[in-house]
């Protein structure tokens, strides 16, 4: 891909430098035409305007979250609305720090999300590898069966899972949450990883086999390391799914194993009013771990999600 977006280092009659008479070779430049470095002012202004609008679209809600968390409760709905809090206060954050129950919700969220991510990656890696690299009777049917579970409304599955977990005394346990979250993350993770494994040449596997590597050795020492970006992407997806879930956590977890989303709603949204500053402060704090994880792993995430999307 990079070859098509870079200008050649040596000037030729067709390059811009030769047309303006400059004989000095220019360093390679990326995306000269139509990109942010375009020399045409109109294009540059339009490009920057687009970036600013898109950035504002993404960042304004986050700013509003922060601003509301710093606003006293009686000024949250002040009219006309203020872009900057008139009397900023950290009361909402102090209130959070004093609420021990929220730390319990946080602990539960971390436990459930991490186990869901690990379990999803573990299972979907082997399933994806099997679907990608082996041929056996029923393979395609199995692949679509995995996908079929995504076709049902979650509410329908919730009632069914509730009954099943109830019958096996699994309600109000981490196990119930992890199993239910994994149920939803597996199909996408499996298909995502299958696409990733498809891009790993069979010749590589054949070469390892010729060198005497066993099947397990091939998977663990050759294929999985190469698929690390895909595994990380799948793991992040599963983690976020577990971190954000509301309905299943509310229904299956019980008071002791409650995770953050239902915990925050239960704590800050009442019958008649909502504690907006506290809710926004809590939302801000609990989104930090996910944001940090995304920032740290974004290059893997993008690579993992797009792997297998291009044929060839």
């Amino acid at each position: 891909m990079s070859a098509t977006t870079q200008l050649p280092a040596t000037p030729t009659p067709s390059t811009p430098s030769s047309r303006v008479g400059g004989g000095t070779p220019r360093p390679p430049q990326r995306l000269r035409r139509g990109g942010l470095r375009s020399e045409r002012p109109g294009v540059r202004i339009a490009a920057w305007a687009t970036v600013i609008v898109c950035g504002g679209f993404g960042l304004l809600p986050v700013y509003w979250l922060l601003a509301t968390s710093l606003t006293p409760r009686d000024q949250v709905f002040a009219y006309p609305p203020r872009f900057f809090p008139a009397a900023p206060t950290l009361d909402a954050f102090a209130s959070l720090a004093a609420n021990e129950q929220l730390f319990g919700y946080l602990r539960n969220s971390v436990i459930v999300s991490v186990i869901t991510a690990v379990l999803s990656v573990l299972v979907s890696a082997y399933m994806g590898y099997s679907f990608s690299k082996f041929r056996y009777r029923g393979r395609r049917s199995l692949m679509y069966l995995v996908l079929a579970s995504q076709m049902f409304p979650q509410a329908l599955l919730l009632v069914t899972l509730y009954s099943v977990f109830s019958a096996y005394n699994l309600l109000n346990t981490y196990t119930a949450l992890v199993l239910s979250f994994t149920t939803f993350t597996l199909p996408l993770c499996v298909w995502m990883l299958k696409g990733f494994f498809d891009t790993i040449p069979d010749e590589l596997i054949e070469a390892a086999r010729v060198d005497g590597a066993s099947r397990l050795r091939i998977i663990h020492s050759i294929v999985l390391p190469l698929a690390a970006p895909g595994l990380i992407a799948a793991g992040l997806f599963a983690f976020v799914r577990g971190w954000n879930d509301f309905v299943f956590a509310l229904t299956l977890a019980g008071p002791e194993k409650q995770t953050l989303p239902p915990g925050l709603v239960n704590t800050f949204i009442g019958e008649a009013s909502t504690a907006w500053p506290e809710l926004m402060a809590a939302s801000l704090v609990v989104s930090l771990p996910v944001a940090i994880a995304f920032i740290a792993l974004q290059k893997y995430l993008v690579g993992g999600l797009t792997a297998g999307a291009v044929k060839g």
Partner: protein, 440 residues
């Protein structure tokens, strides 16, 4: 072994049919999954209060609410000391509460005492797991109106706890600016509309009446339909679509067009607008008082809150209001007898009720509590009871388990009228037909 690129797995029509087959098969399997035990034939008639007391669960949406939780914790603590048992609290957010409670009760996961909105009693009673608590009402001083609010189909499925109504709440300071003070609030709809126009004339972006206009809360229109003379339901026949309901919606639409009511307002929006002094009148239950005073920059707003009777179509008519409130129901099963005893204690023990009132400010249900100094000295509470709750009535759709869907059908049609997509007559006819289908 060969690679199998994902692109080779394009879904063909044949494959799609196979998928649908698999989906149907899985749905069938889901249907075969273990289900909740069948509901018993009817509610148990004896709510035992004697015998050994046992631990039980008590569910309420208020356990985690900042303002209400201390009151509930105090009640639970008082009962635990009184009865020497442990009460296990269970809580779900208000908006999810009825769904979660229904699931837990159906699945046999929950037994004991449950805080319920009186609107939900019909749906919960239909499961056949609520006890008939009528034996526990005798000699406790419950008012007849409160007992009636916690009944369904003539059976006392709940003990009333905090029964009031939804009515008009005004900002007296704003009304005084247009010459409406004290008891001089308009009594007829024509006078009411004139007052709204006067309030509009004050300018400054004031919304005269923050009536509900979002579909989620447009069920408030039902009380105006009753005010215009529609019974809503006659036996099992829905009457929406009659002249009175059409007139009510036509009038509501005219308020909307004159900007006397605002677009996109639900109960939460109305409270915020009212708290900020941007609305002069709105509909609410007593529970809203704490929310508006807490959210308001006007620290004196509490003293300006005045509940008023809803205007009537013509002088002499009885003002209409919708019953609102909470009850404690008892789900049959382990600990139910003690839970019933707790329900009676929490709702009628004078000291407990008065201590609760001082924290939550919600209307008590026994004559003794209502006449107590603590309650009668609360001007807002007394006026609310006298002007609104006294003439309130239940929503007739609560008698049907599909009441929520019925209200949604009506609300969507009314909203279509407000935004000009249809006319009141057509909309109300369609709403009535849809509601009738849901009733069966």
């Amino acid at each position: 072994m060969s690679t199998n690129p994902l692109m080779q797995s394009a879904v063909s029509r044949r494959r799609m049919l196979q998928l649908l087959g698999i989906g149907a098969g899985t749905a069938a399997l889901a249907a075969c999954a273990p289900s909740a035990p069948a509901a018993s034939g009817g509610a148990a008639s004896a709510a035992a209060t004697g015998g050994a007391r046992t631990d039980f669960a008590f569910s309420s949406w208020s356990f985690t609410e900042e303002a209400a939780a201390p009151a509930l914790e105090a009640i639970v603590k008082a009962y635990e000391d009184h009865a020497d048992v442990t009460v296990n609290d269970v809580s779900f957010p208000y908006n999810e509460y009825i769904n979660q409670l229904t699931l837990q009760v159906k699945g046999g996961q929950f037994t004991g005492a449950a805080h319920v909105d009186v609107a939900w009693l019909g749906s919960l009673a239909a499961m056949g797991k609520l006890q008939d608590l009528s034996a526990l009402t005798e000699g406790r001083g419950y008012t007849d109106a409160a007992l009636a609010a916690a009944q369904f189909d003539g059976v006392q499925y709940g003990l009333p706890w905090t029964i009031g109504a939804i009515g008009l709440v005004t900002n007296s300071a704003l009304l005084e600016k247009v010459g409406v003070s004290g008891d001089a609030f308009p009594t007829t709809i024509d006078e009411f509309e004139k007052t709204l126009k006067d309030l509009k004339g004050l300018g400054g972006g004031l919304i005269p009446y923050a009536a509900s206009t979002k579909a989620a809360q447009l069920k408030d229109i039902l009380i105006w339909m009753e005010t215009f003379g529609s019974p809503l339901v006659d036996g099992d026949t829905v009457t929406i679509g009659d002249d009175a309901s059409v007139e009510a919606v036509t009038w509501y639409k005219s308020l909307y067009d004159q900007k006397l009511i605002a677009a996109d307002v639900d109960r939460f929006d109305a409270r915020s607008l009212f708290a900020q002094g941007r609305a002069a009148i709105y509909d609410d239950a007593p529970v809203g008082r704490g929310a508006v005073t807490e959210e308001s920059p006007d620290k004196d707003l509490g003293s300006k809150l005045v509940p008023v009777s809803r205007p009537v179509l013509k002088a002499g008519d009885t003002p209409r209001a919708l019953v609102w409130g909470g009850a404690i129901a008892v789900v049959d099963g382990e600990g139910a007898a003690t839970a019933a005893d707790f329900a009676q204690f929490a709702t009628s023990d004078l000291d407990t009720v008065l201590a609760d009132y001082e924290v939550r400010g919600l209307p008590p249900v026994t004559t003794e509590a209502q006449q107590s100094e603590v309650v009668s000295s609360d001007v807002f509470g007394s006026l609310f009871n006298e002007r609104i709750t006294a003439t309130s009535s239940s929503n007739p759709f609560w008698a049907f388990t599909a009441y929520s869907q019925i209200e949604t059908e009506i609300a969507e049609q009314v909203q279509a009228v407000l935004v000009g997509k249809t006319d009141p007559k057509t909309a109300m006819q369609q709403a009535g037909e849809a509601a009738q289908k849901l009733i069966g």
